[in-house]
């Protein structure tokens, strides 16, 4: 009987303390953790307003419970994004740092021209980027990225190419800005590019308009 009275006293004391002490309304106001600001920092002046609008349109906006997977999907959906970092700035700000993709080539699909970014995504072209090499044919984006990587690792500068021609067999021809056509083989591309670059860089190399490197161990030059 004595023990039961002791327990009750503790319960009453707890209720008294919990309800009787001062109550910080602000502490209980969960609205202050609602996402209000999204700061997007970009590597150039590109405007990503639509990204912040889309993030703010989400159901759950409490910064503690915000679904980062959703935010990731929203950002990655944007074709201009190459890399990004998301930082929570408590209590109500989300900071997103975006590195914009670099366009390296252009491709026409069904009469529409697209820019191909280093992130492997296509962006419909609204203003002419005539200085970018144009791809003829229907390569997959993986083929293009693979070829771009090979060219990048070679001594050729991708910006010094005028046109790229893709064949169904997976082979590429390239046209340099000097008007030289290089017919590349399917295999050993890096090695062939190295050899061709050595030949083109030679002072004695003049008036040759076509370099055919398709045959193993041979380079055929045409006027």
């Amino acid at each position: 009987m004595h023990q039961q009275i002791g327990k009750k006293i503790f319960i009453y004391l707890f209720i008294l303390l919990f309800l009787g002490t001062f109550n910080n309304q602000k502490l209980l106001d969960l609205n202050q953790f609602t996402l209000k600001n999204i700061i997007i920092e970009t590597s150039d002046s590109t405007n990503f307003v639509e990204l912040s609008d889309e993030i703010l349109n989400q159901k759950e906006l409490n910064i503690f419970f915000i679904n980062l997977k959703n935010i990731k999907n929203i950002i990655e959906k944007n074709n201009l994004v190459e890399k990004y970092y998301v930082i929570k700035n408590y209590p109500s700000t989300l900071k997103i740092k975006i590195v914009k993709t670099k366009f390296f080539s252009r491709l026409s699909i069904d009469g529409k021209t697209f820019n191909i970014g280093t992130n492997g995504k296509l962006t419909e072209e609204f203003s002419n980027n005539n200085n970018l090499p144009f791809i003829f044919g229907n390569p997959s984006i993986d083929d293009v990225i693979e070829f771009y990587t090979i060219i990048k690792t070679s001594k050729f500068n991708f910006n010094n190419l005028r046109n790229l021609f893709y064949y169904k067999s997976g082979r590429w021809d390239i046209e340099t800005i000097d008007g030289i056509i290089i017919k590349l083989p399917n295999d050993n591309l890096a090695k062939k590019l190295q050899e061709i670059h050595t030949i083109i860089s030679n002072k004695d190399f003049t008036n040759q308009k076509i370099i055919d490197a398709r045959i193993i161990n041979q380079l055929i030059l045409y006027d």
Binding site: S108, T113, F134, F136, F165, Y167, K168, D173, E175, G179
Partner: protein, 236 residues
């Protein structure tokens, strides 16, 4: 693959695009089509892009038709053509033998053109009008001979520089393809407007010789085939 000639392969070279259409020779249905549109800055690479266009499409056409492409028709729609409009008149003072006189006059004027424009080749000879005593005349086969003082033909010659033709022939020769006929794009446009037909229907009409105002020149000599060629064609 077989070497029949069941298809009409038509390549069109425009200022800013290349087109190809393959039609059935029997019902003129379009069996294959493709197109490349060039941007202004790509005009410098036009020849290289055209070669790529041929590489890509000739293979596809041959696969699609299960036939080798041996010859093609080419529509060139740029400013390389030279158009000469002229009129030739002959004093008749008697009965007019229309067919004979028109043939003679056209032959005569064709030879004059050939003589005076040695660096050009005749692509089209188009009859604009026949005039009998200065009045427009429409030929009717049932018409008996008519008495007249003079007979004239108003005629248009469309010429193309021979080196351009040679260039095109060289490009197609790389694929073992010969050019059957070159058509001027300007003439084709005019004809399609006149006939109210679309571009390719009009092209087919011209290629098949359905324009009654165009003079078609046929070679007198039949091509001599070698023994082996005859032998191979015996079974094809």
């Amino acid at each position: 693959m077989i070497e029949n000639d069941d298809f009409i392969n038509l390549f069109v070279i425009k200022k800013n695009s290349f087109l190809v259409r393959c039609f059935s020779r029997f019902d003129h249905t379009c069996l294959y089509k493709n197109e490349i549109i060039l941007e202004d800055h790509q005009i410098d690479s036009k020849k290289n892009i055209f070669k790529y266009f041929l590489d890509d499409n000739i293979y596809k056409i041959e696969k699609n038709n299960n036939q080798f492409v041996r010859d093609i028709y080419l529509v060139v729609d740029d400013e390389k053509f030279l158009t000469i409009n002229l009129c030739i008149k002959k004093n008749i003072l008697g009965d007019l033998n229309f067919e004979k006189e028109s043939f003679n006059l056209i032959s005569k004027i064709k030879n004059e053109i050939k003589l005076n424009y040695k660096e050009f080749s005749i692509i089209h000879i188009l009859i604009d009008n026949y005039l009998v005593d200065g009045v427009e005349f429409k030929f009717d086969k049932n018409l008996s001979s008519i008495y007249c003082k003079d007979f004239s033909i108003v005629i248009t010659f469309v010429l193309m520089p021979s080196f351009s033709i040679l260039d095109y022939q060289k490009v197609f020769a790389d694929y073992q393809i010969s050019i059957n006929k070159i058509v001027s794009g300007e003439y084709l446009k005019d004809y399609s407007l006149l006939e109210k037909a679309n571009y390719f229907d009009a092209a087919l009409k011209i290629l098949l010789g359905n324009n009654p105002n165009e003079v078609i020149i046929l070679s007198k000599k039949q091509e001599n085939r070698g023994f082996f060629e005859k032998f191979f064609h015996l079974f094809s």
